[in-house]
């Protein structure tokens, strides 16, 4: 269920835009912040709210990398493996972190704590290698620094 608080934030987003549908991306961010992913039930609720078919909601969810249709680990860790980062060892670091966390490519730790994946350019090219931990950037990494950042995660 979308909470009252989330609903109030969605209404505020709608009020700032010329058309209701424009607030769908903001609404997905808001709901996902609370529920972790967009379930079929949430899609139905959002469909009603935006006067569109739930499948249209899921179409948007599946188009964008940052929206999830499935339950997620508690934290997302994405190593940038685009060219500027790869030139500075990002893929080596990514493999080391996979081994460290004992996960496969784009995998989750067994305790549901961390999803480790790789991502395309995050706009931190001079501070490579780097990774995004939820909504934080960790830059100028080596393996020790990256491990420490992961240890901080609950």
């Amino acid at each position: 269920m979308i909470s009252e608080q989330a609903r109030a934030r969605i209404d505020e987003a709608i009020s700032k835009l010329p058309a209701r549908r424009g607030a769908l991306l903001p609404a997905l961010h808001i709901v996902q912040e609370e529920l972790g992913h967009i379930s079929p039930e949430t899609a139905r609720e959002l469909g009603e709210l935006f006067e569109i078919h739930p499948v249209e909601v899921m179409e948007v969810v599946s188009f964008y990398n940052m929206f999830y249709a499935e339950p997620q680990s508690r934290h997302h860790v994405y190593v940038c493996t685009n060219l500027p980062c790869s030139l500075r060892g990002a893929r080596v670091l990514y493999e080391q972190l996979e081994a460290h966390l004992e996960v496969d490519e784009n995998g989750n730790t067994a305790d549901g704590r961390i999803h480790l994946g790789h991502e395309e350019c995050l706009g931190a090219c001079a501070y490579a290698p780097m990774m995004r931990v939820d909504d934080r950037y960790c830059e100028d990494l080596d393996l020790d620094k990256a491990k420490r950042a992961l240890e901080e995660l609950e």
Binding site: L17, G22, A23, V60, N82, L87, G123
Partner: protein, 431 residues
């Protein structure tokens, strides 16, 4: 920790100062004077003429005249008009907008206010990439400050002009940096680019006349209003005036941002400013303007970083993201990384792009594995040629150009893989 540029100019010289990121501090440094001047002393048409006369080119990649773009906005319409600030910086190798947002949001907002006055726009949507959570918070804080001071909202600066700014976040799709993909996303849809015409000035955000400009483009505007078109034209080259914020990454001693005049030579940026290549290595190739732009070989670095000069070398300034690769680099691996990115980010609506990006990636991967055939090279060139100019937006061109560039200058790397049936560059960066 975000580092301020190593070389600064009028855009970034105060970025190290925390005070500059607040409205009061920005005003102490002379901020919002230009907006006041435009709104109280200049007619909208005069502002457009000024910006046109300054020669300011859009800094989002295409390099189109900003003033000319503004002049496309209809003046004889009852429809609401909008501005969109493209803060969806996602071009690999580009990281300048991030600091312009984090440390210079008021400078950009002032540029937006001036552009709004010039074009008669009632609202600006700032579309910031979803991953830029921290810059988005900084930006929202600055927008709130501007509202509190009545620099936004009703009756801006007591002039009777109304302007609203809405910050909206993307959600991780490169294609939303394409202006009509962005508009679709802003409307709550998949970010699939629109057919043009109609152009955004006729049919833009929510179907209304809209002008889309990049973060950096807006950031130049207060300086032009304050100091004039002649001052601006005195910096850079005749055809490409002003400074820009170059991002240098890859194999250099000092990767980072460098605010320098357009037309600064590429080798000067790499060797004098960014300290050259580490470990006594030499340059093998450089991508001069973000990953979509064709690579230049080591022998062609004496080129001024301005579109008129770069075009002669069959490449472009793009977003000014300079990626340096040393002589250990395997250019087939580079092709693997680049083609993977475009395959992953194609929005899928045009066949040439959806299929072509996948084919390019499959073939270069095969070559890297040592399973390439001699005819693969002709196939690569053929596919790239058939993607270019055939699709709704420029994404397919952006996917084809880097492959064409690599084939033009580093064909020998591809041939060596095919001949030896393996990658002969053992010291290259790992895939």
């Amino acid at each position: 920790m975000l580092k301020v540029p190593y070389v600064t100019g009028y855009l970034t010289e105060r970025f190290a100062d925390d005070d500059f990121a607040t409205l009061e501090g920005y005003e102490r440094a002379g901020g919002y004077r230009a907006a006041r001047k435009a709104l109280t002393e200049m007619a909208p048409a005069d502002v457009i003429e000024l910006v046109k006369g300054s020669g300011l080119q859009g800094r989002g990649g295409a390099g189109f005249s900003a003033g000319l773009k503004w002049s496309f906005m209809p003046t004889d319409t009852d429809q609401p008009k909008y501005l969109v600030c493209n803060a969806d910086e996602s071009e690999p190798g580009s990281f300048k907008d991030r600091i312009l947002l984090e440390r210079g949001a008021h400078q950009m907002l002032e540029g937006i206010l001036i552009a709004a006055w010039a074009t008669g726009a009632e609202k600006t949507f700032i579309y910031i990439r979803g991953e830029y959570a921290h810059p988005a918070r900084e930006l929202q804080r600055c927008v709130d400050e501007a509202y509190a001071k009545r620099y936004l909202g009703e009756n801006v600066m007591g002039t009777g002009f109304r302007h609203d700014v809405v910050v909206t976040r993307g959600a991780g799709a490169y294609i939303c940096g394409e202006e009509t993909g962005l508009l679709e996303s802003l409307e709550g849809k998949k970010g699939q680019p629109r057919k043009k015409p109609p152009f955004p000035a006729q049919y833009g955000a929510f179907g209304m006349p809209t002008t889309v400009n990049n973060v950096e483009t807006f950031s130049h505007v207060p300086h032009i209003v304050e100091r004039g078109a002649d001052w601006f034209r005195g910096i850079g080259t005749e055809k490409s005036p002003g400074n820009t914020v170059f991002g240098v990454s890859g194999h250099v001693e000092r990767p980072g941002l460098y605010e320098l005049p357009l037309g600064t030579r590429l080798d000067e940026i790499i060797f004098e400013h960014a300290g050259g290549v580490p470990n006594g290595r030499k340059v093998k190739g450089v991508i001069p303007g973000g990953m979509s732009m064709p690579i230049l070989p080591a022998g062609q670095l004496d080129v001024p970083m301005a579109n008129e000069a770069l075009r002669e070398r069959k490449t472009m300034l793009g977003t000014g993201g300079i990626m340096v690769m040393d002589d250990t680099t395997c250019m087939v691996r580079v092709a693997c990384v680049i083609t993977y990115f475009f395959r992953d980010e194609s929005c899928g609506q045009c066949t040439q792009c959806r299929e072509g990006t996948g084919w390019l990636n499959k073939i270069v991967n095969r070559i890297e594995r040592g399973a390439g055939e001699p005819e693969d090279l002709a196939i690569l060139v053929d596919i790239a040629g058939k993607m270019e100019g055939q699709t709704i937006c420029a994404f397919a061109d952006a996917a084809a150009w880097p492959v064409q560039g690599l084939m033009r200058h580093f064909r020998a790397d591809f041939e060596a893989h095919i001949e030896h049936k393996k990658c002969p560059f053992s010291e290259s960066f790992a895939l």
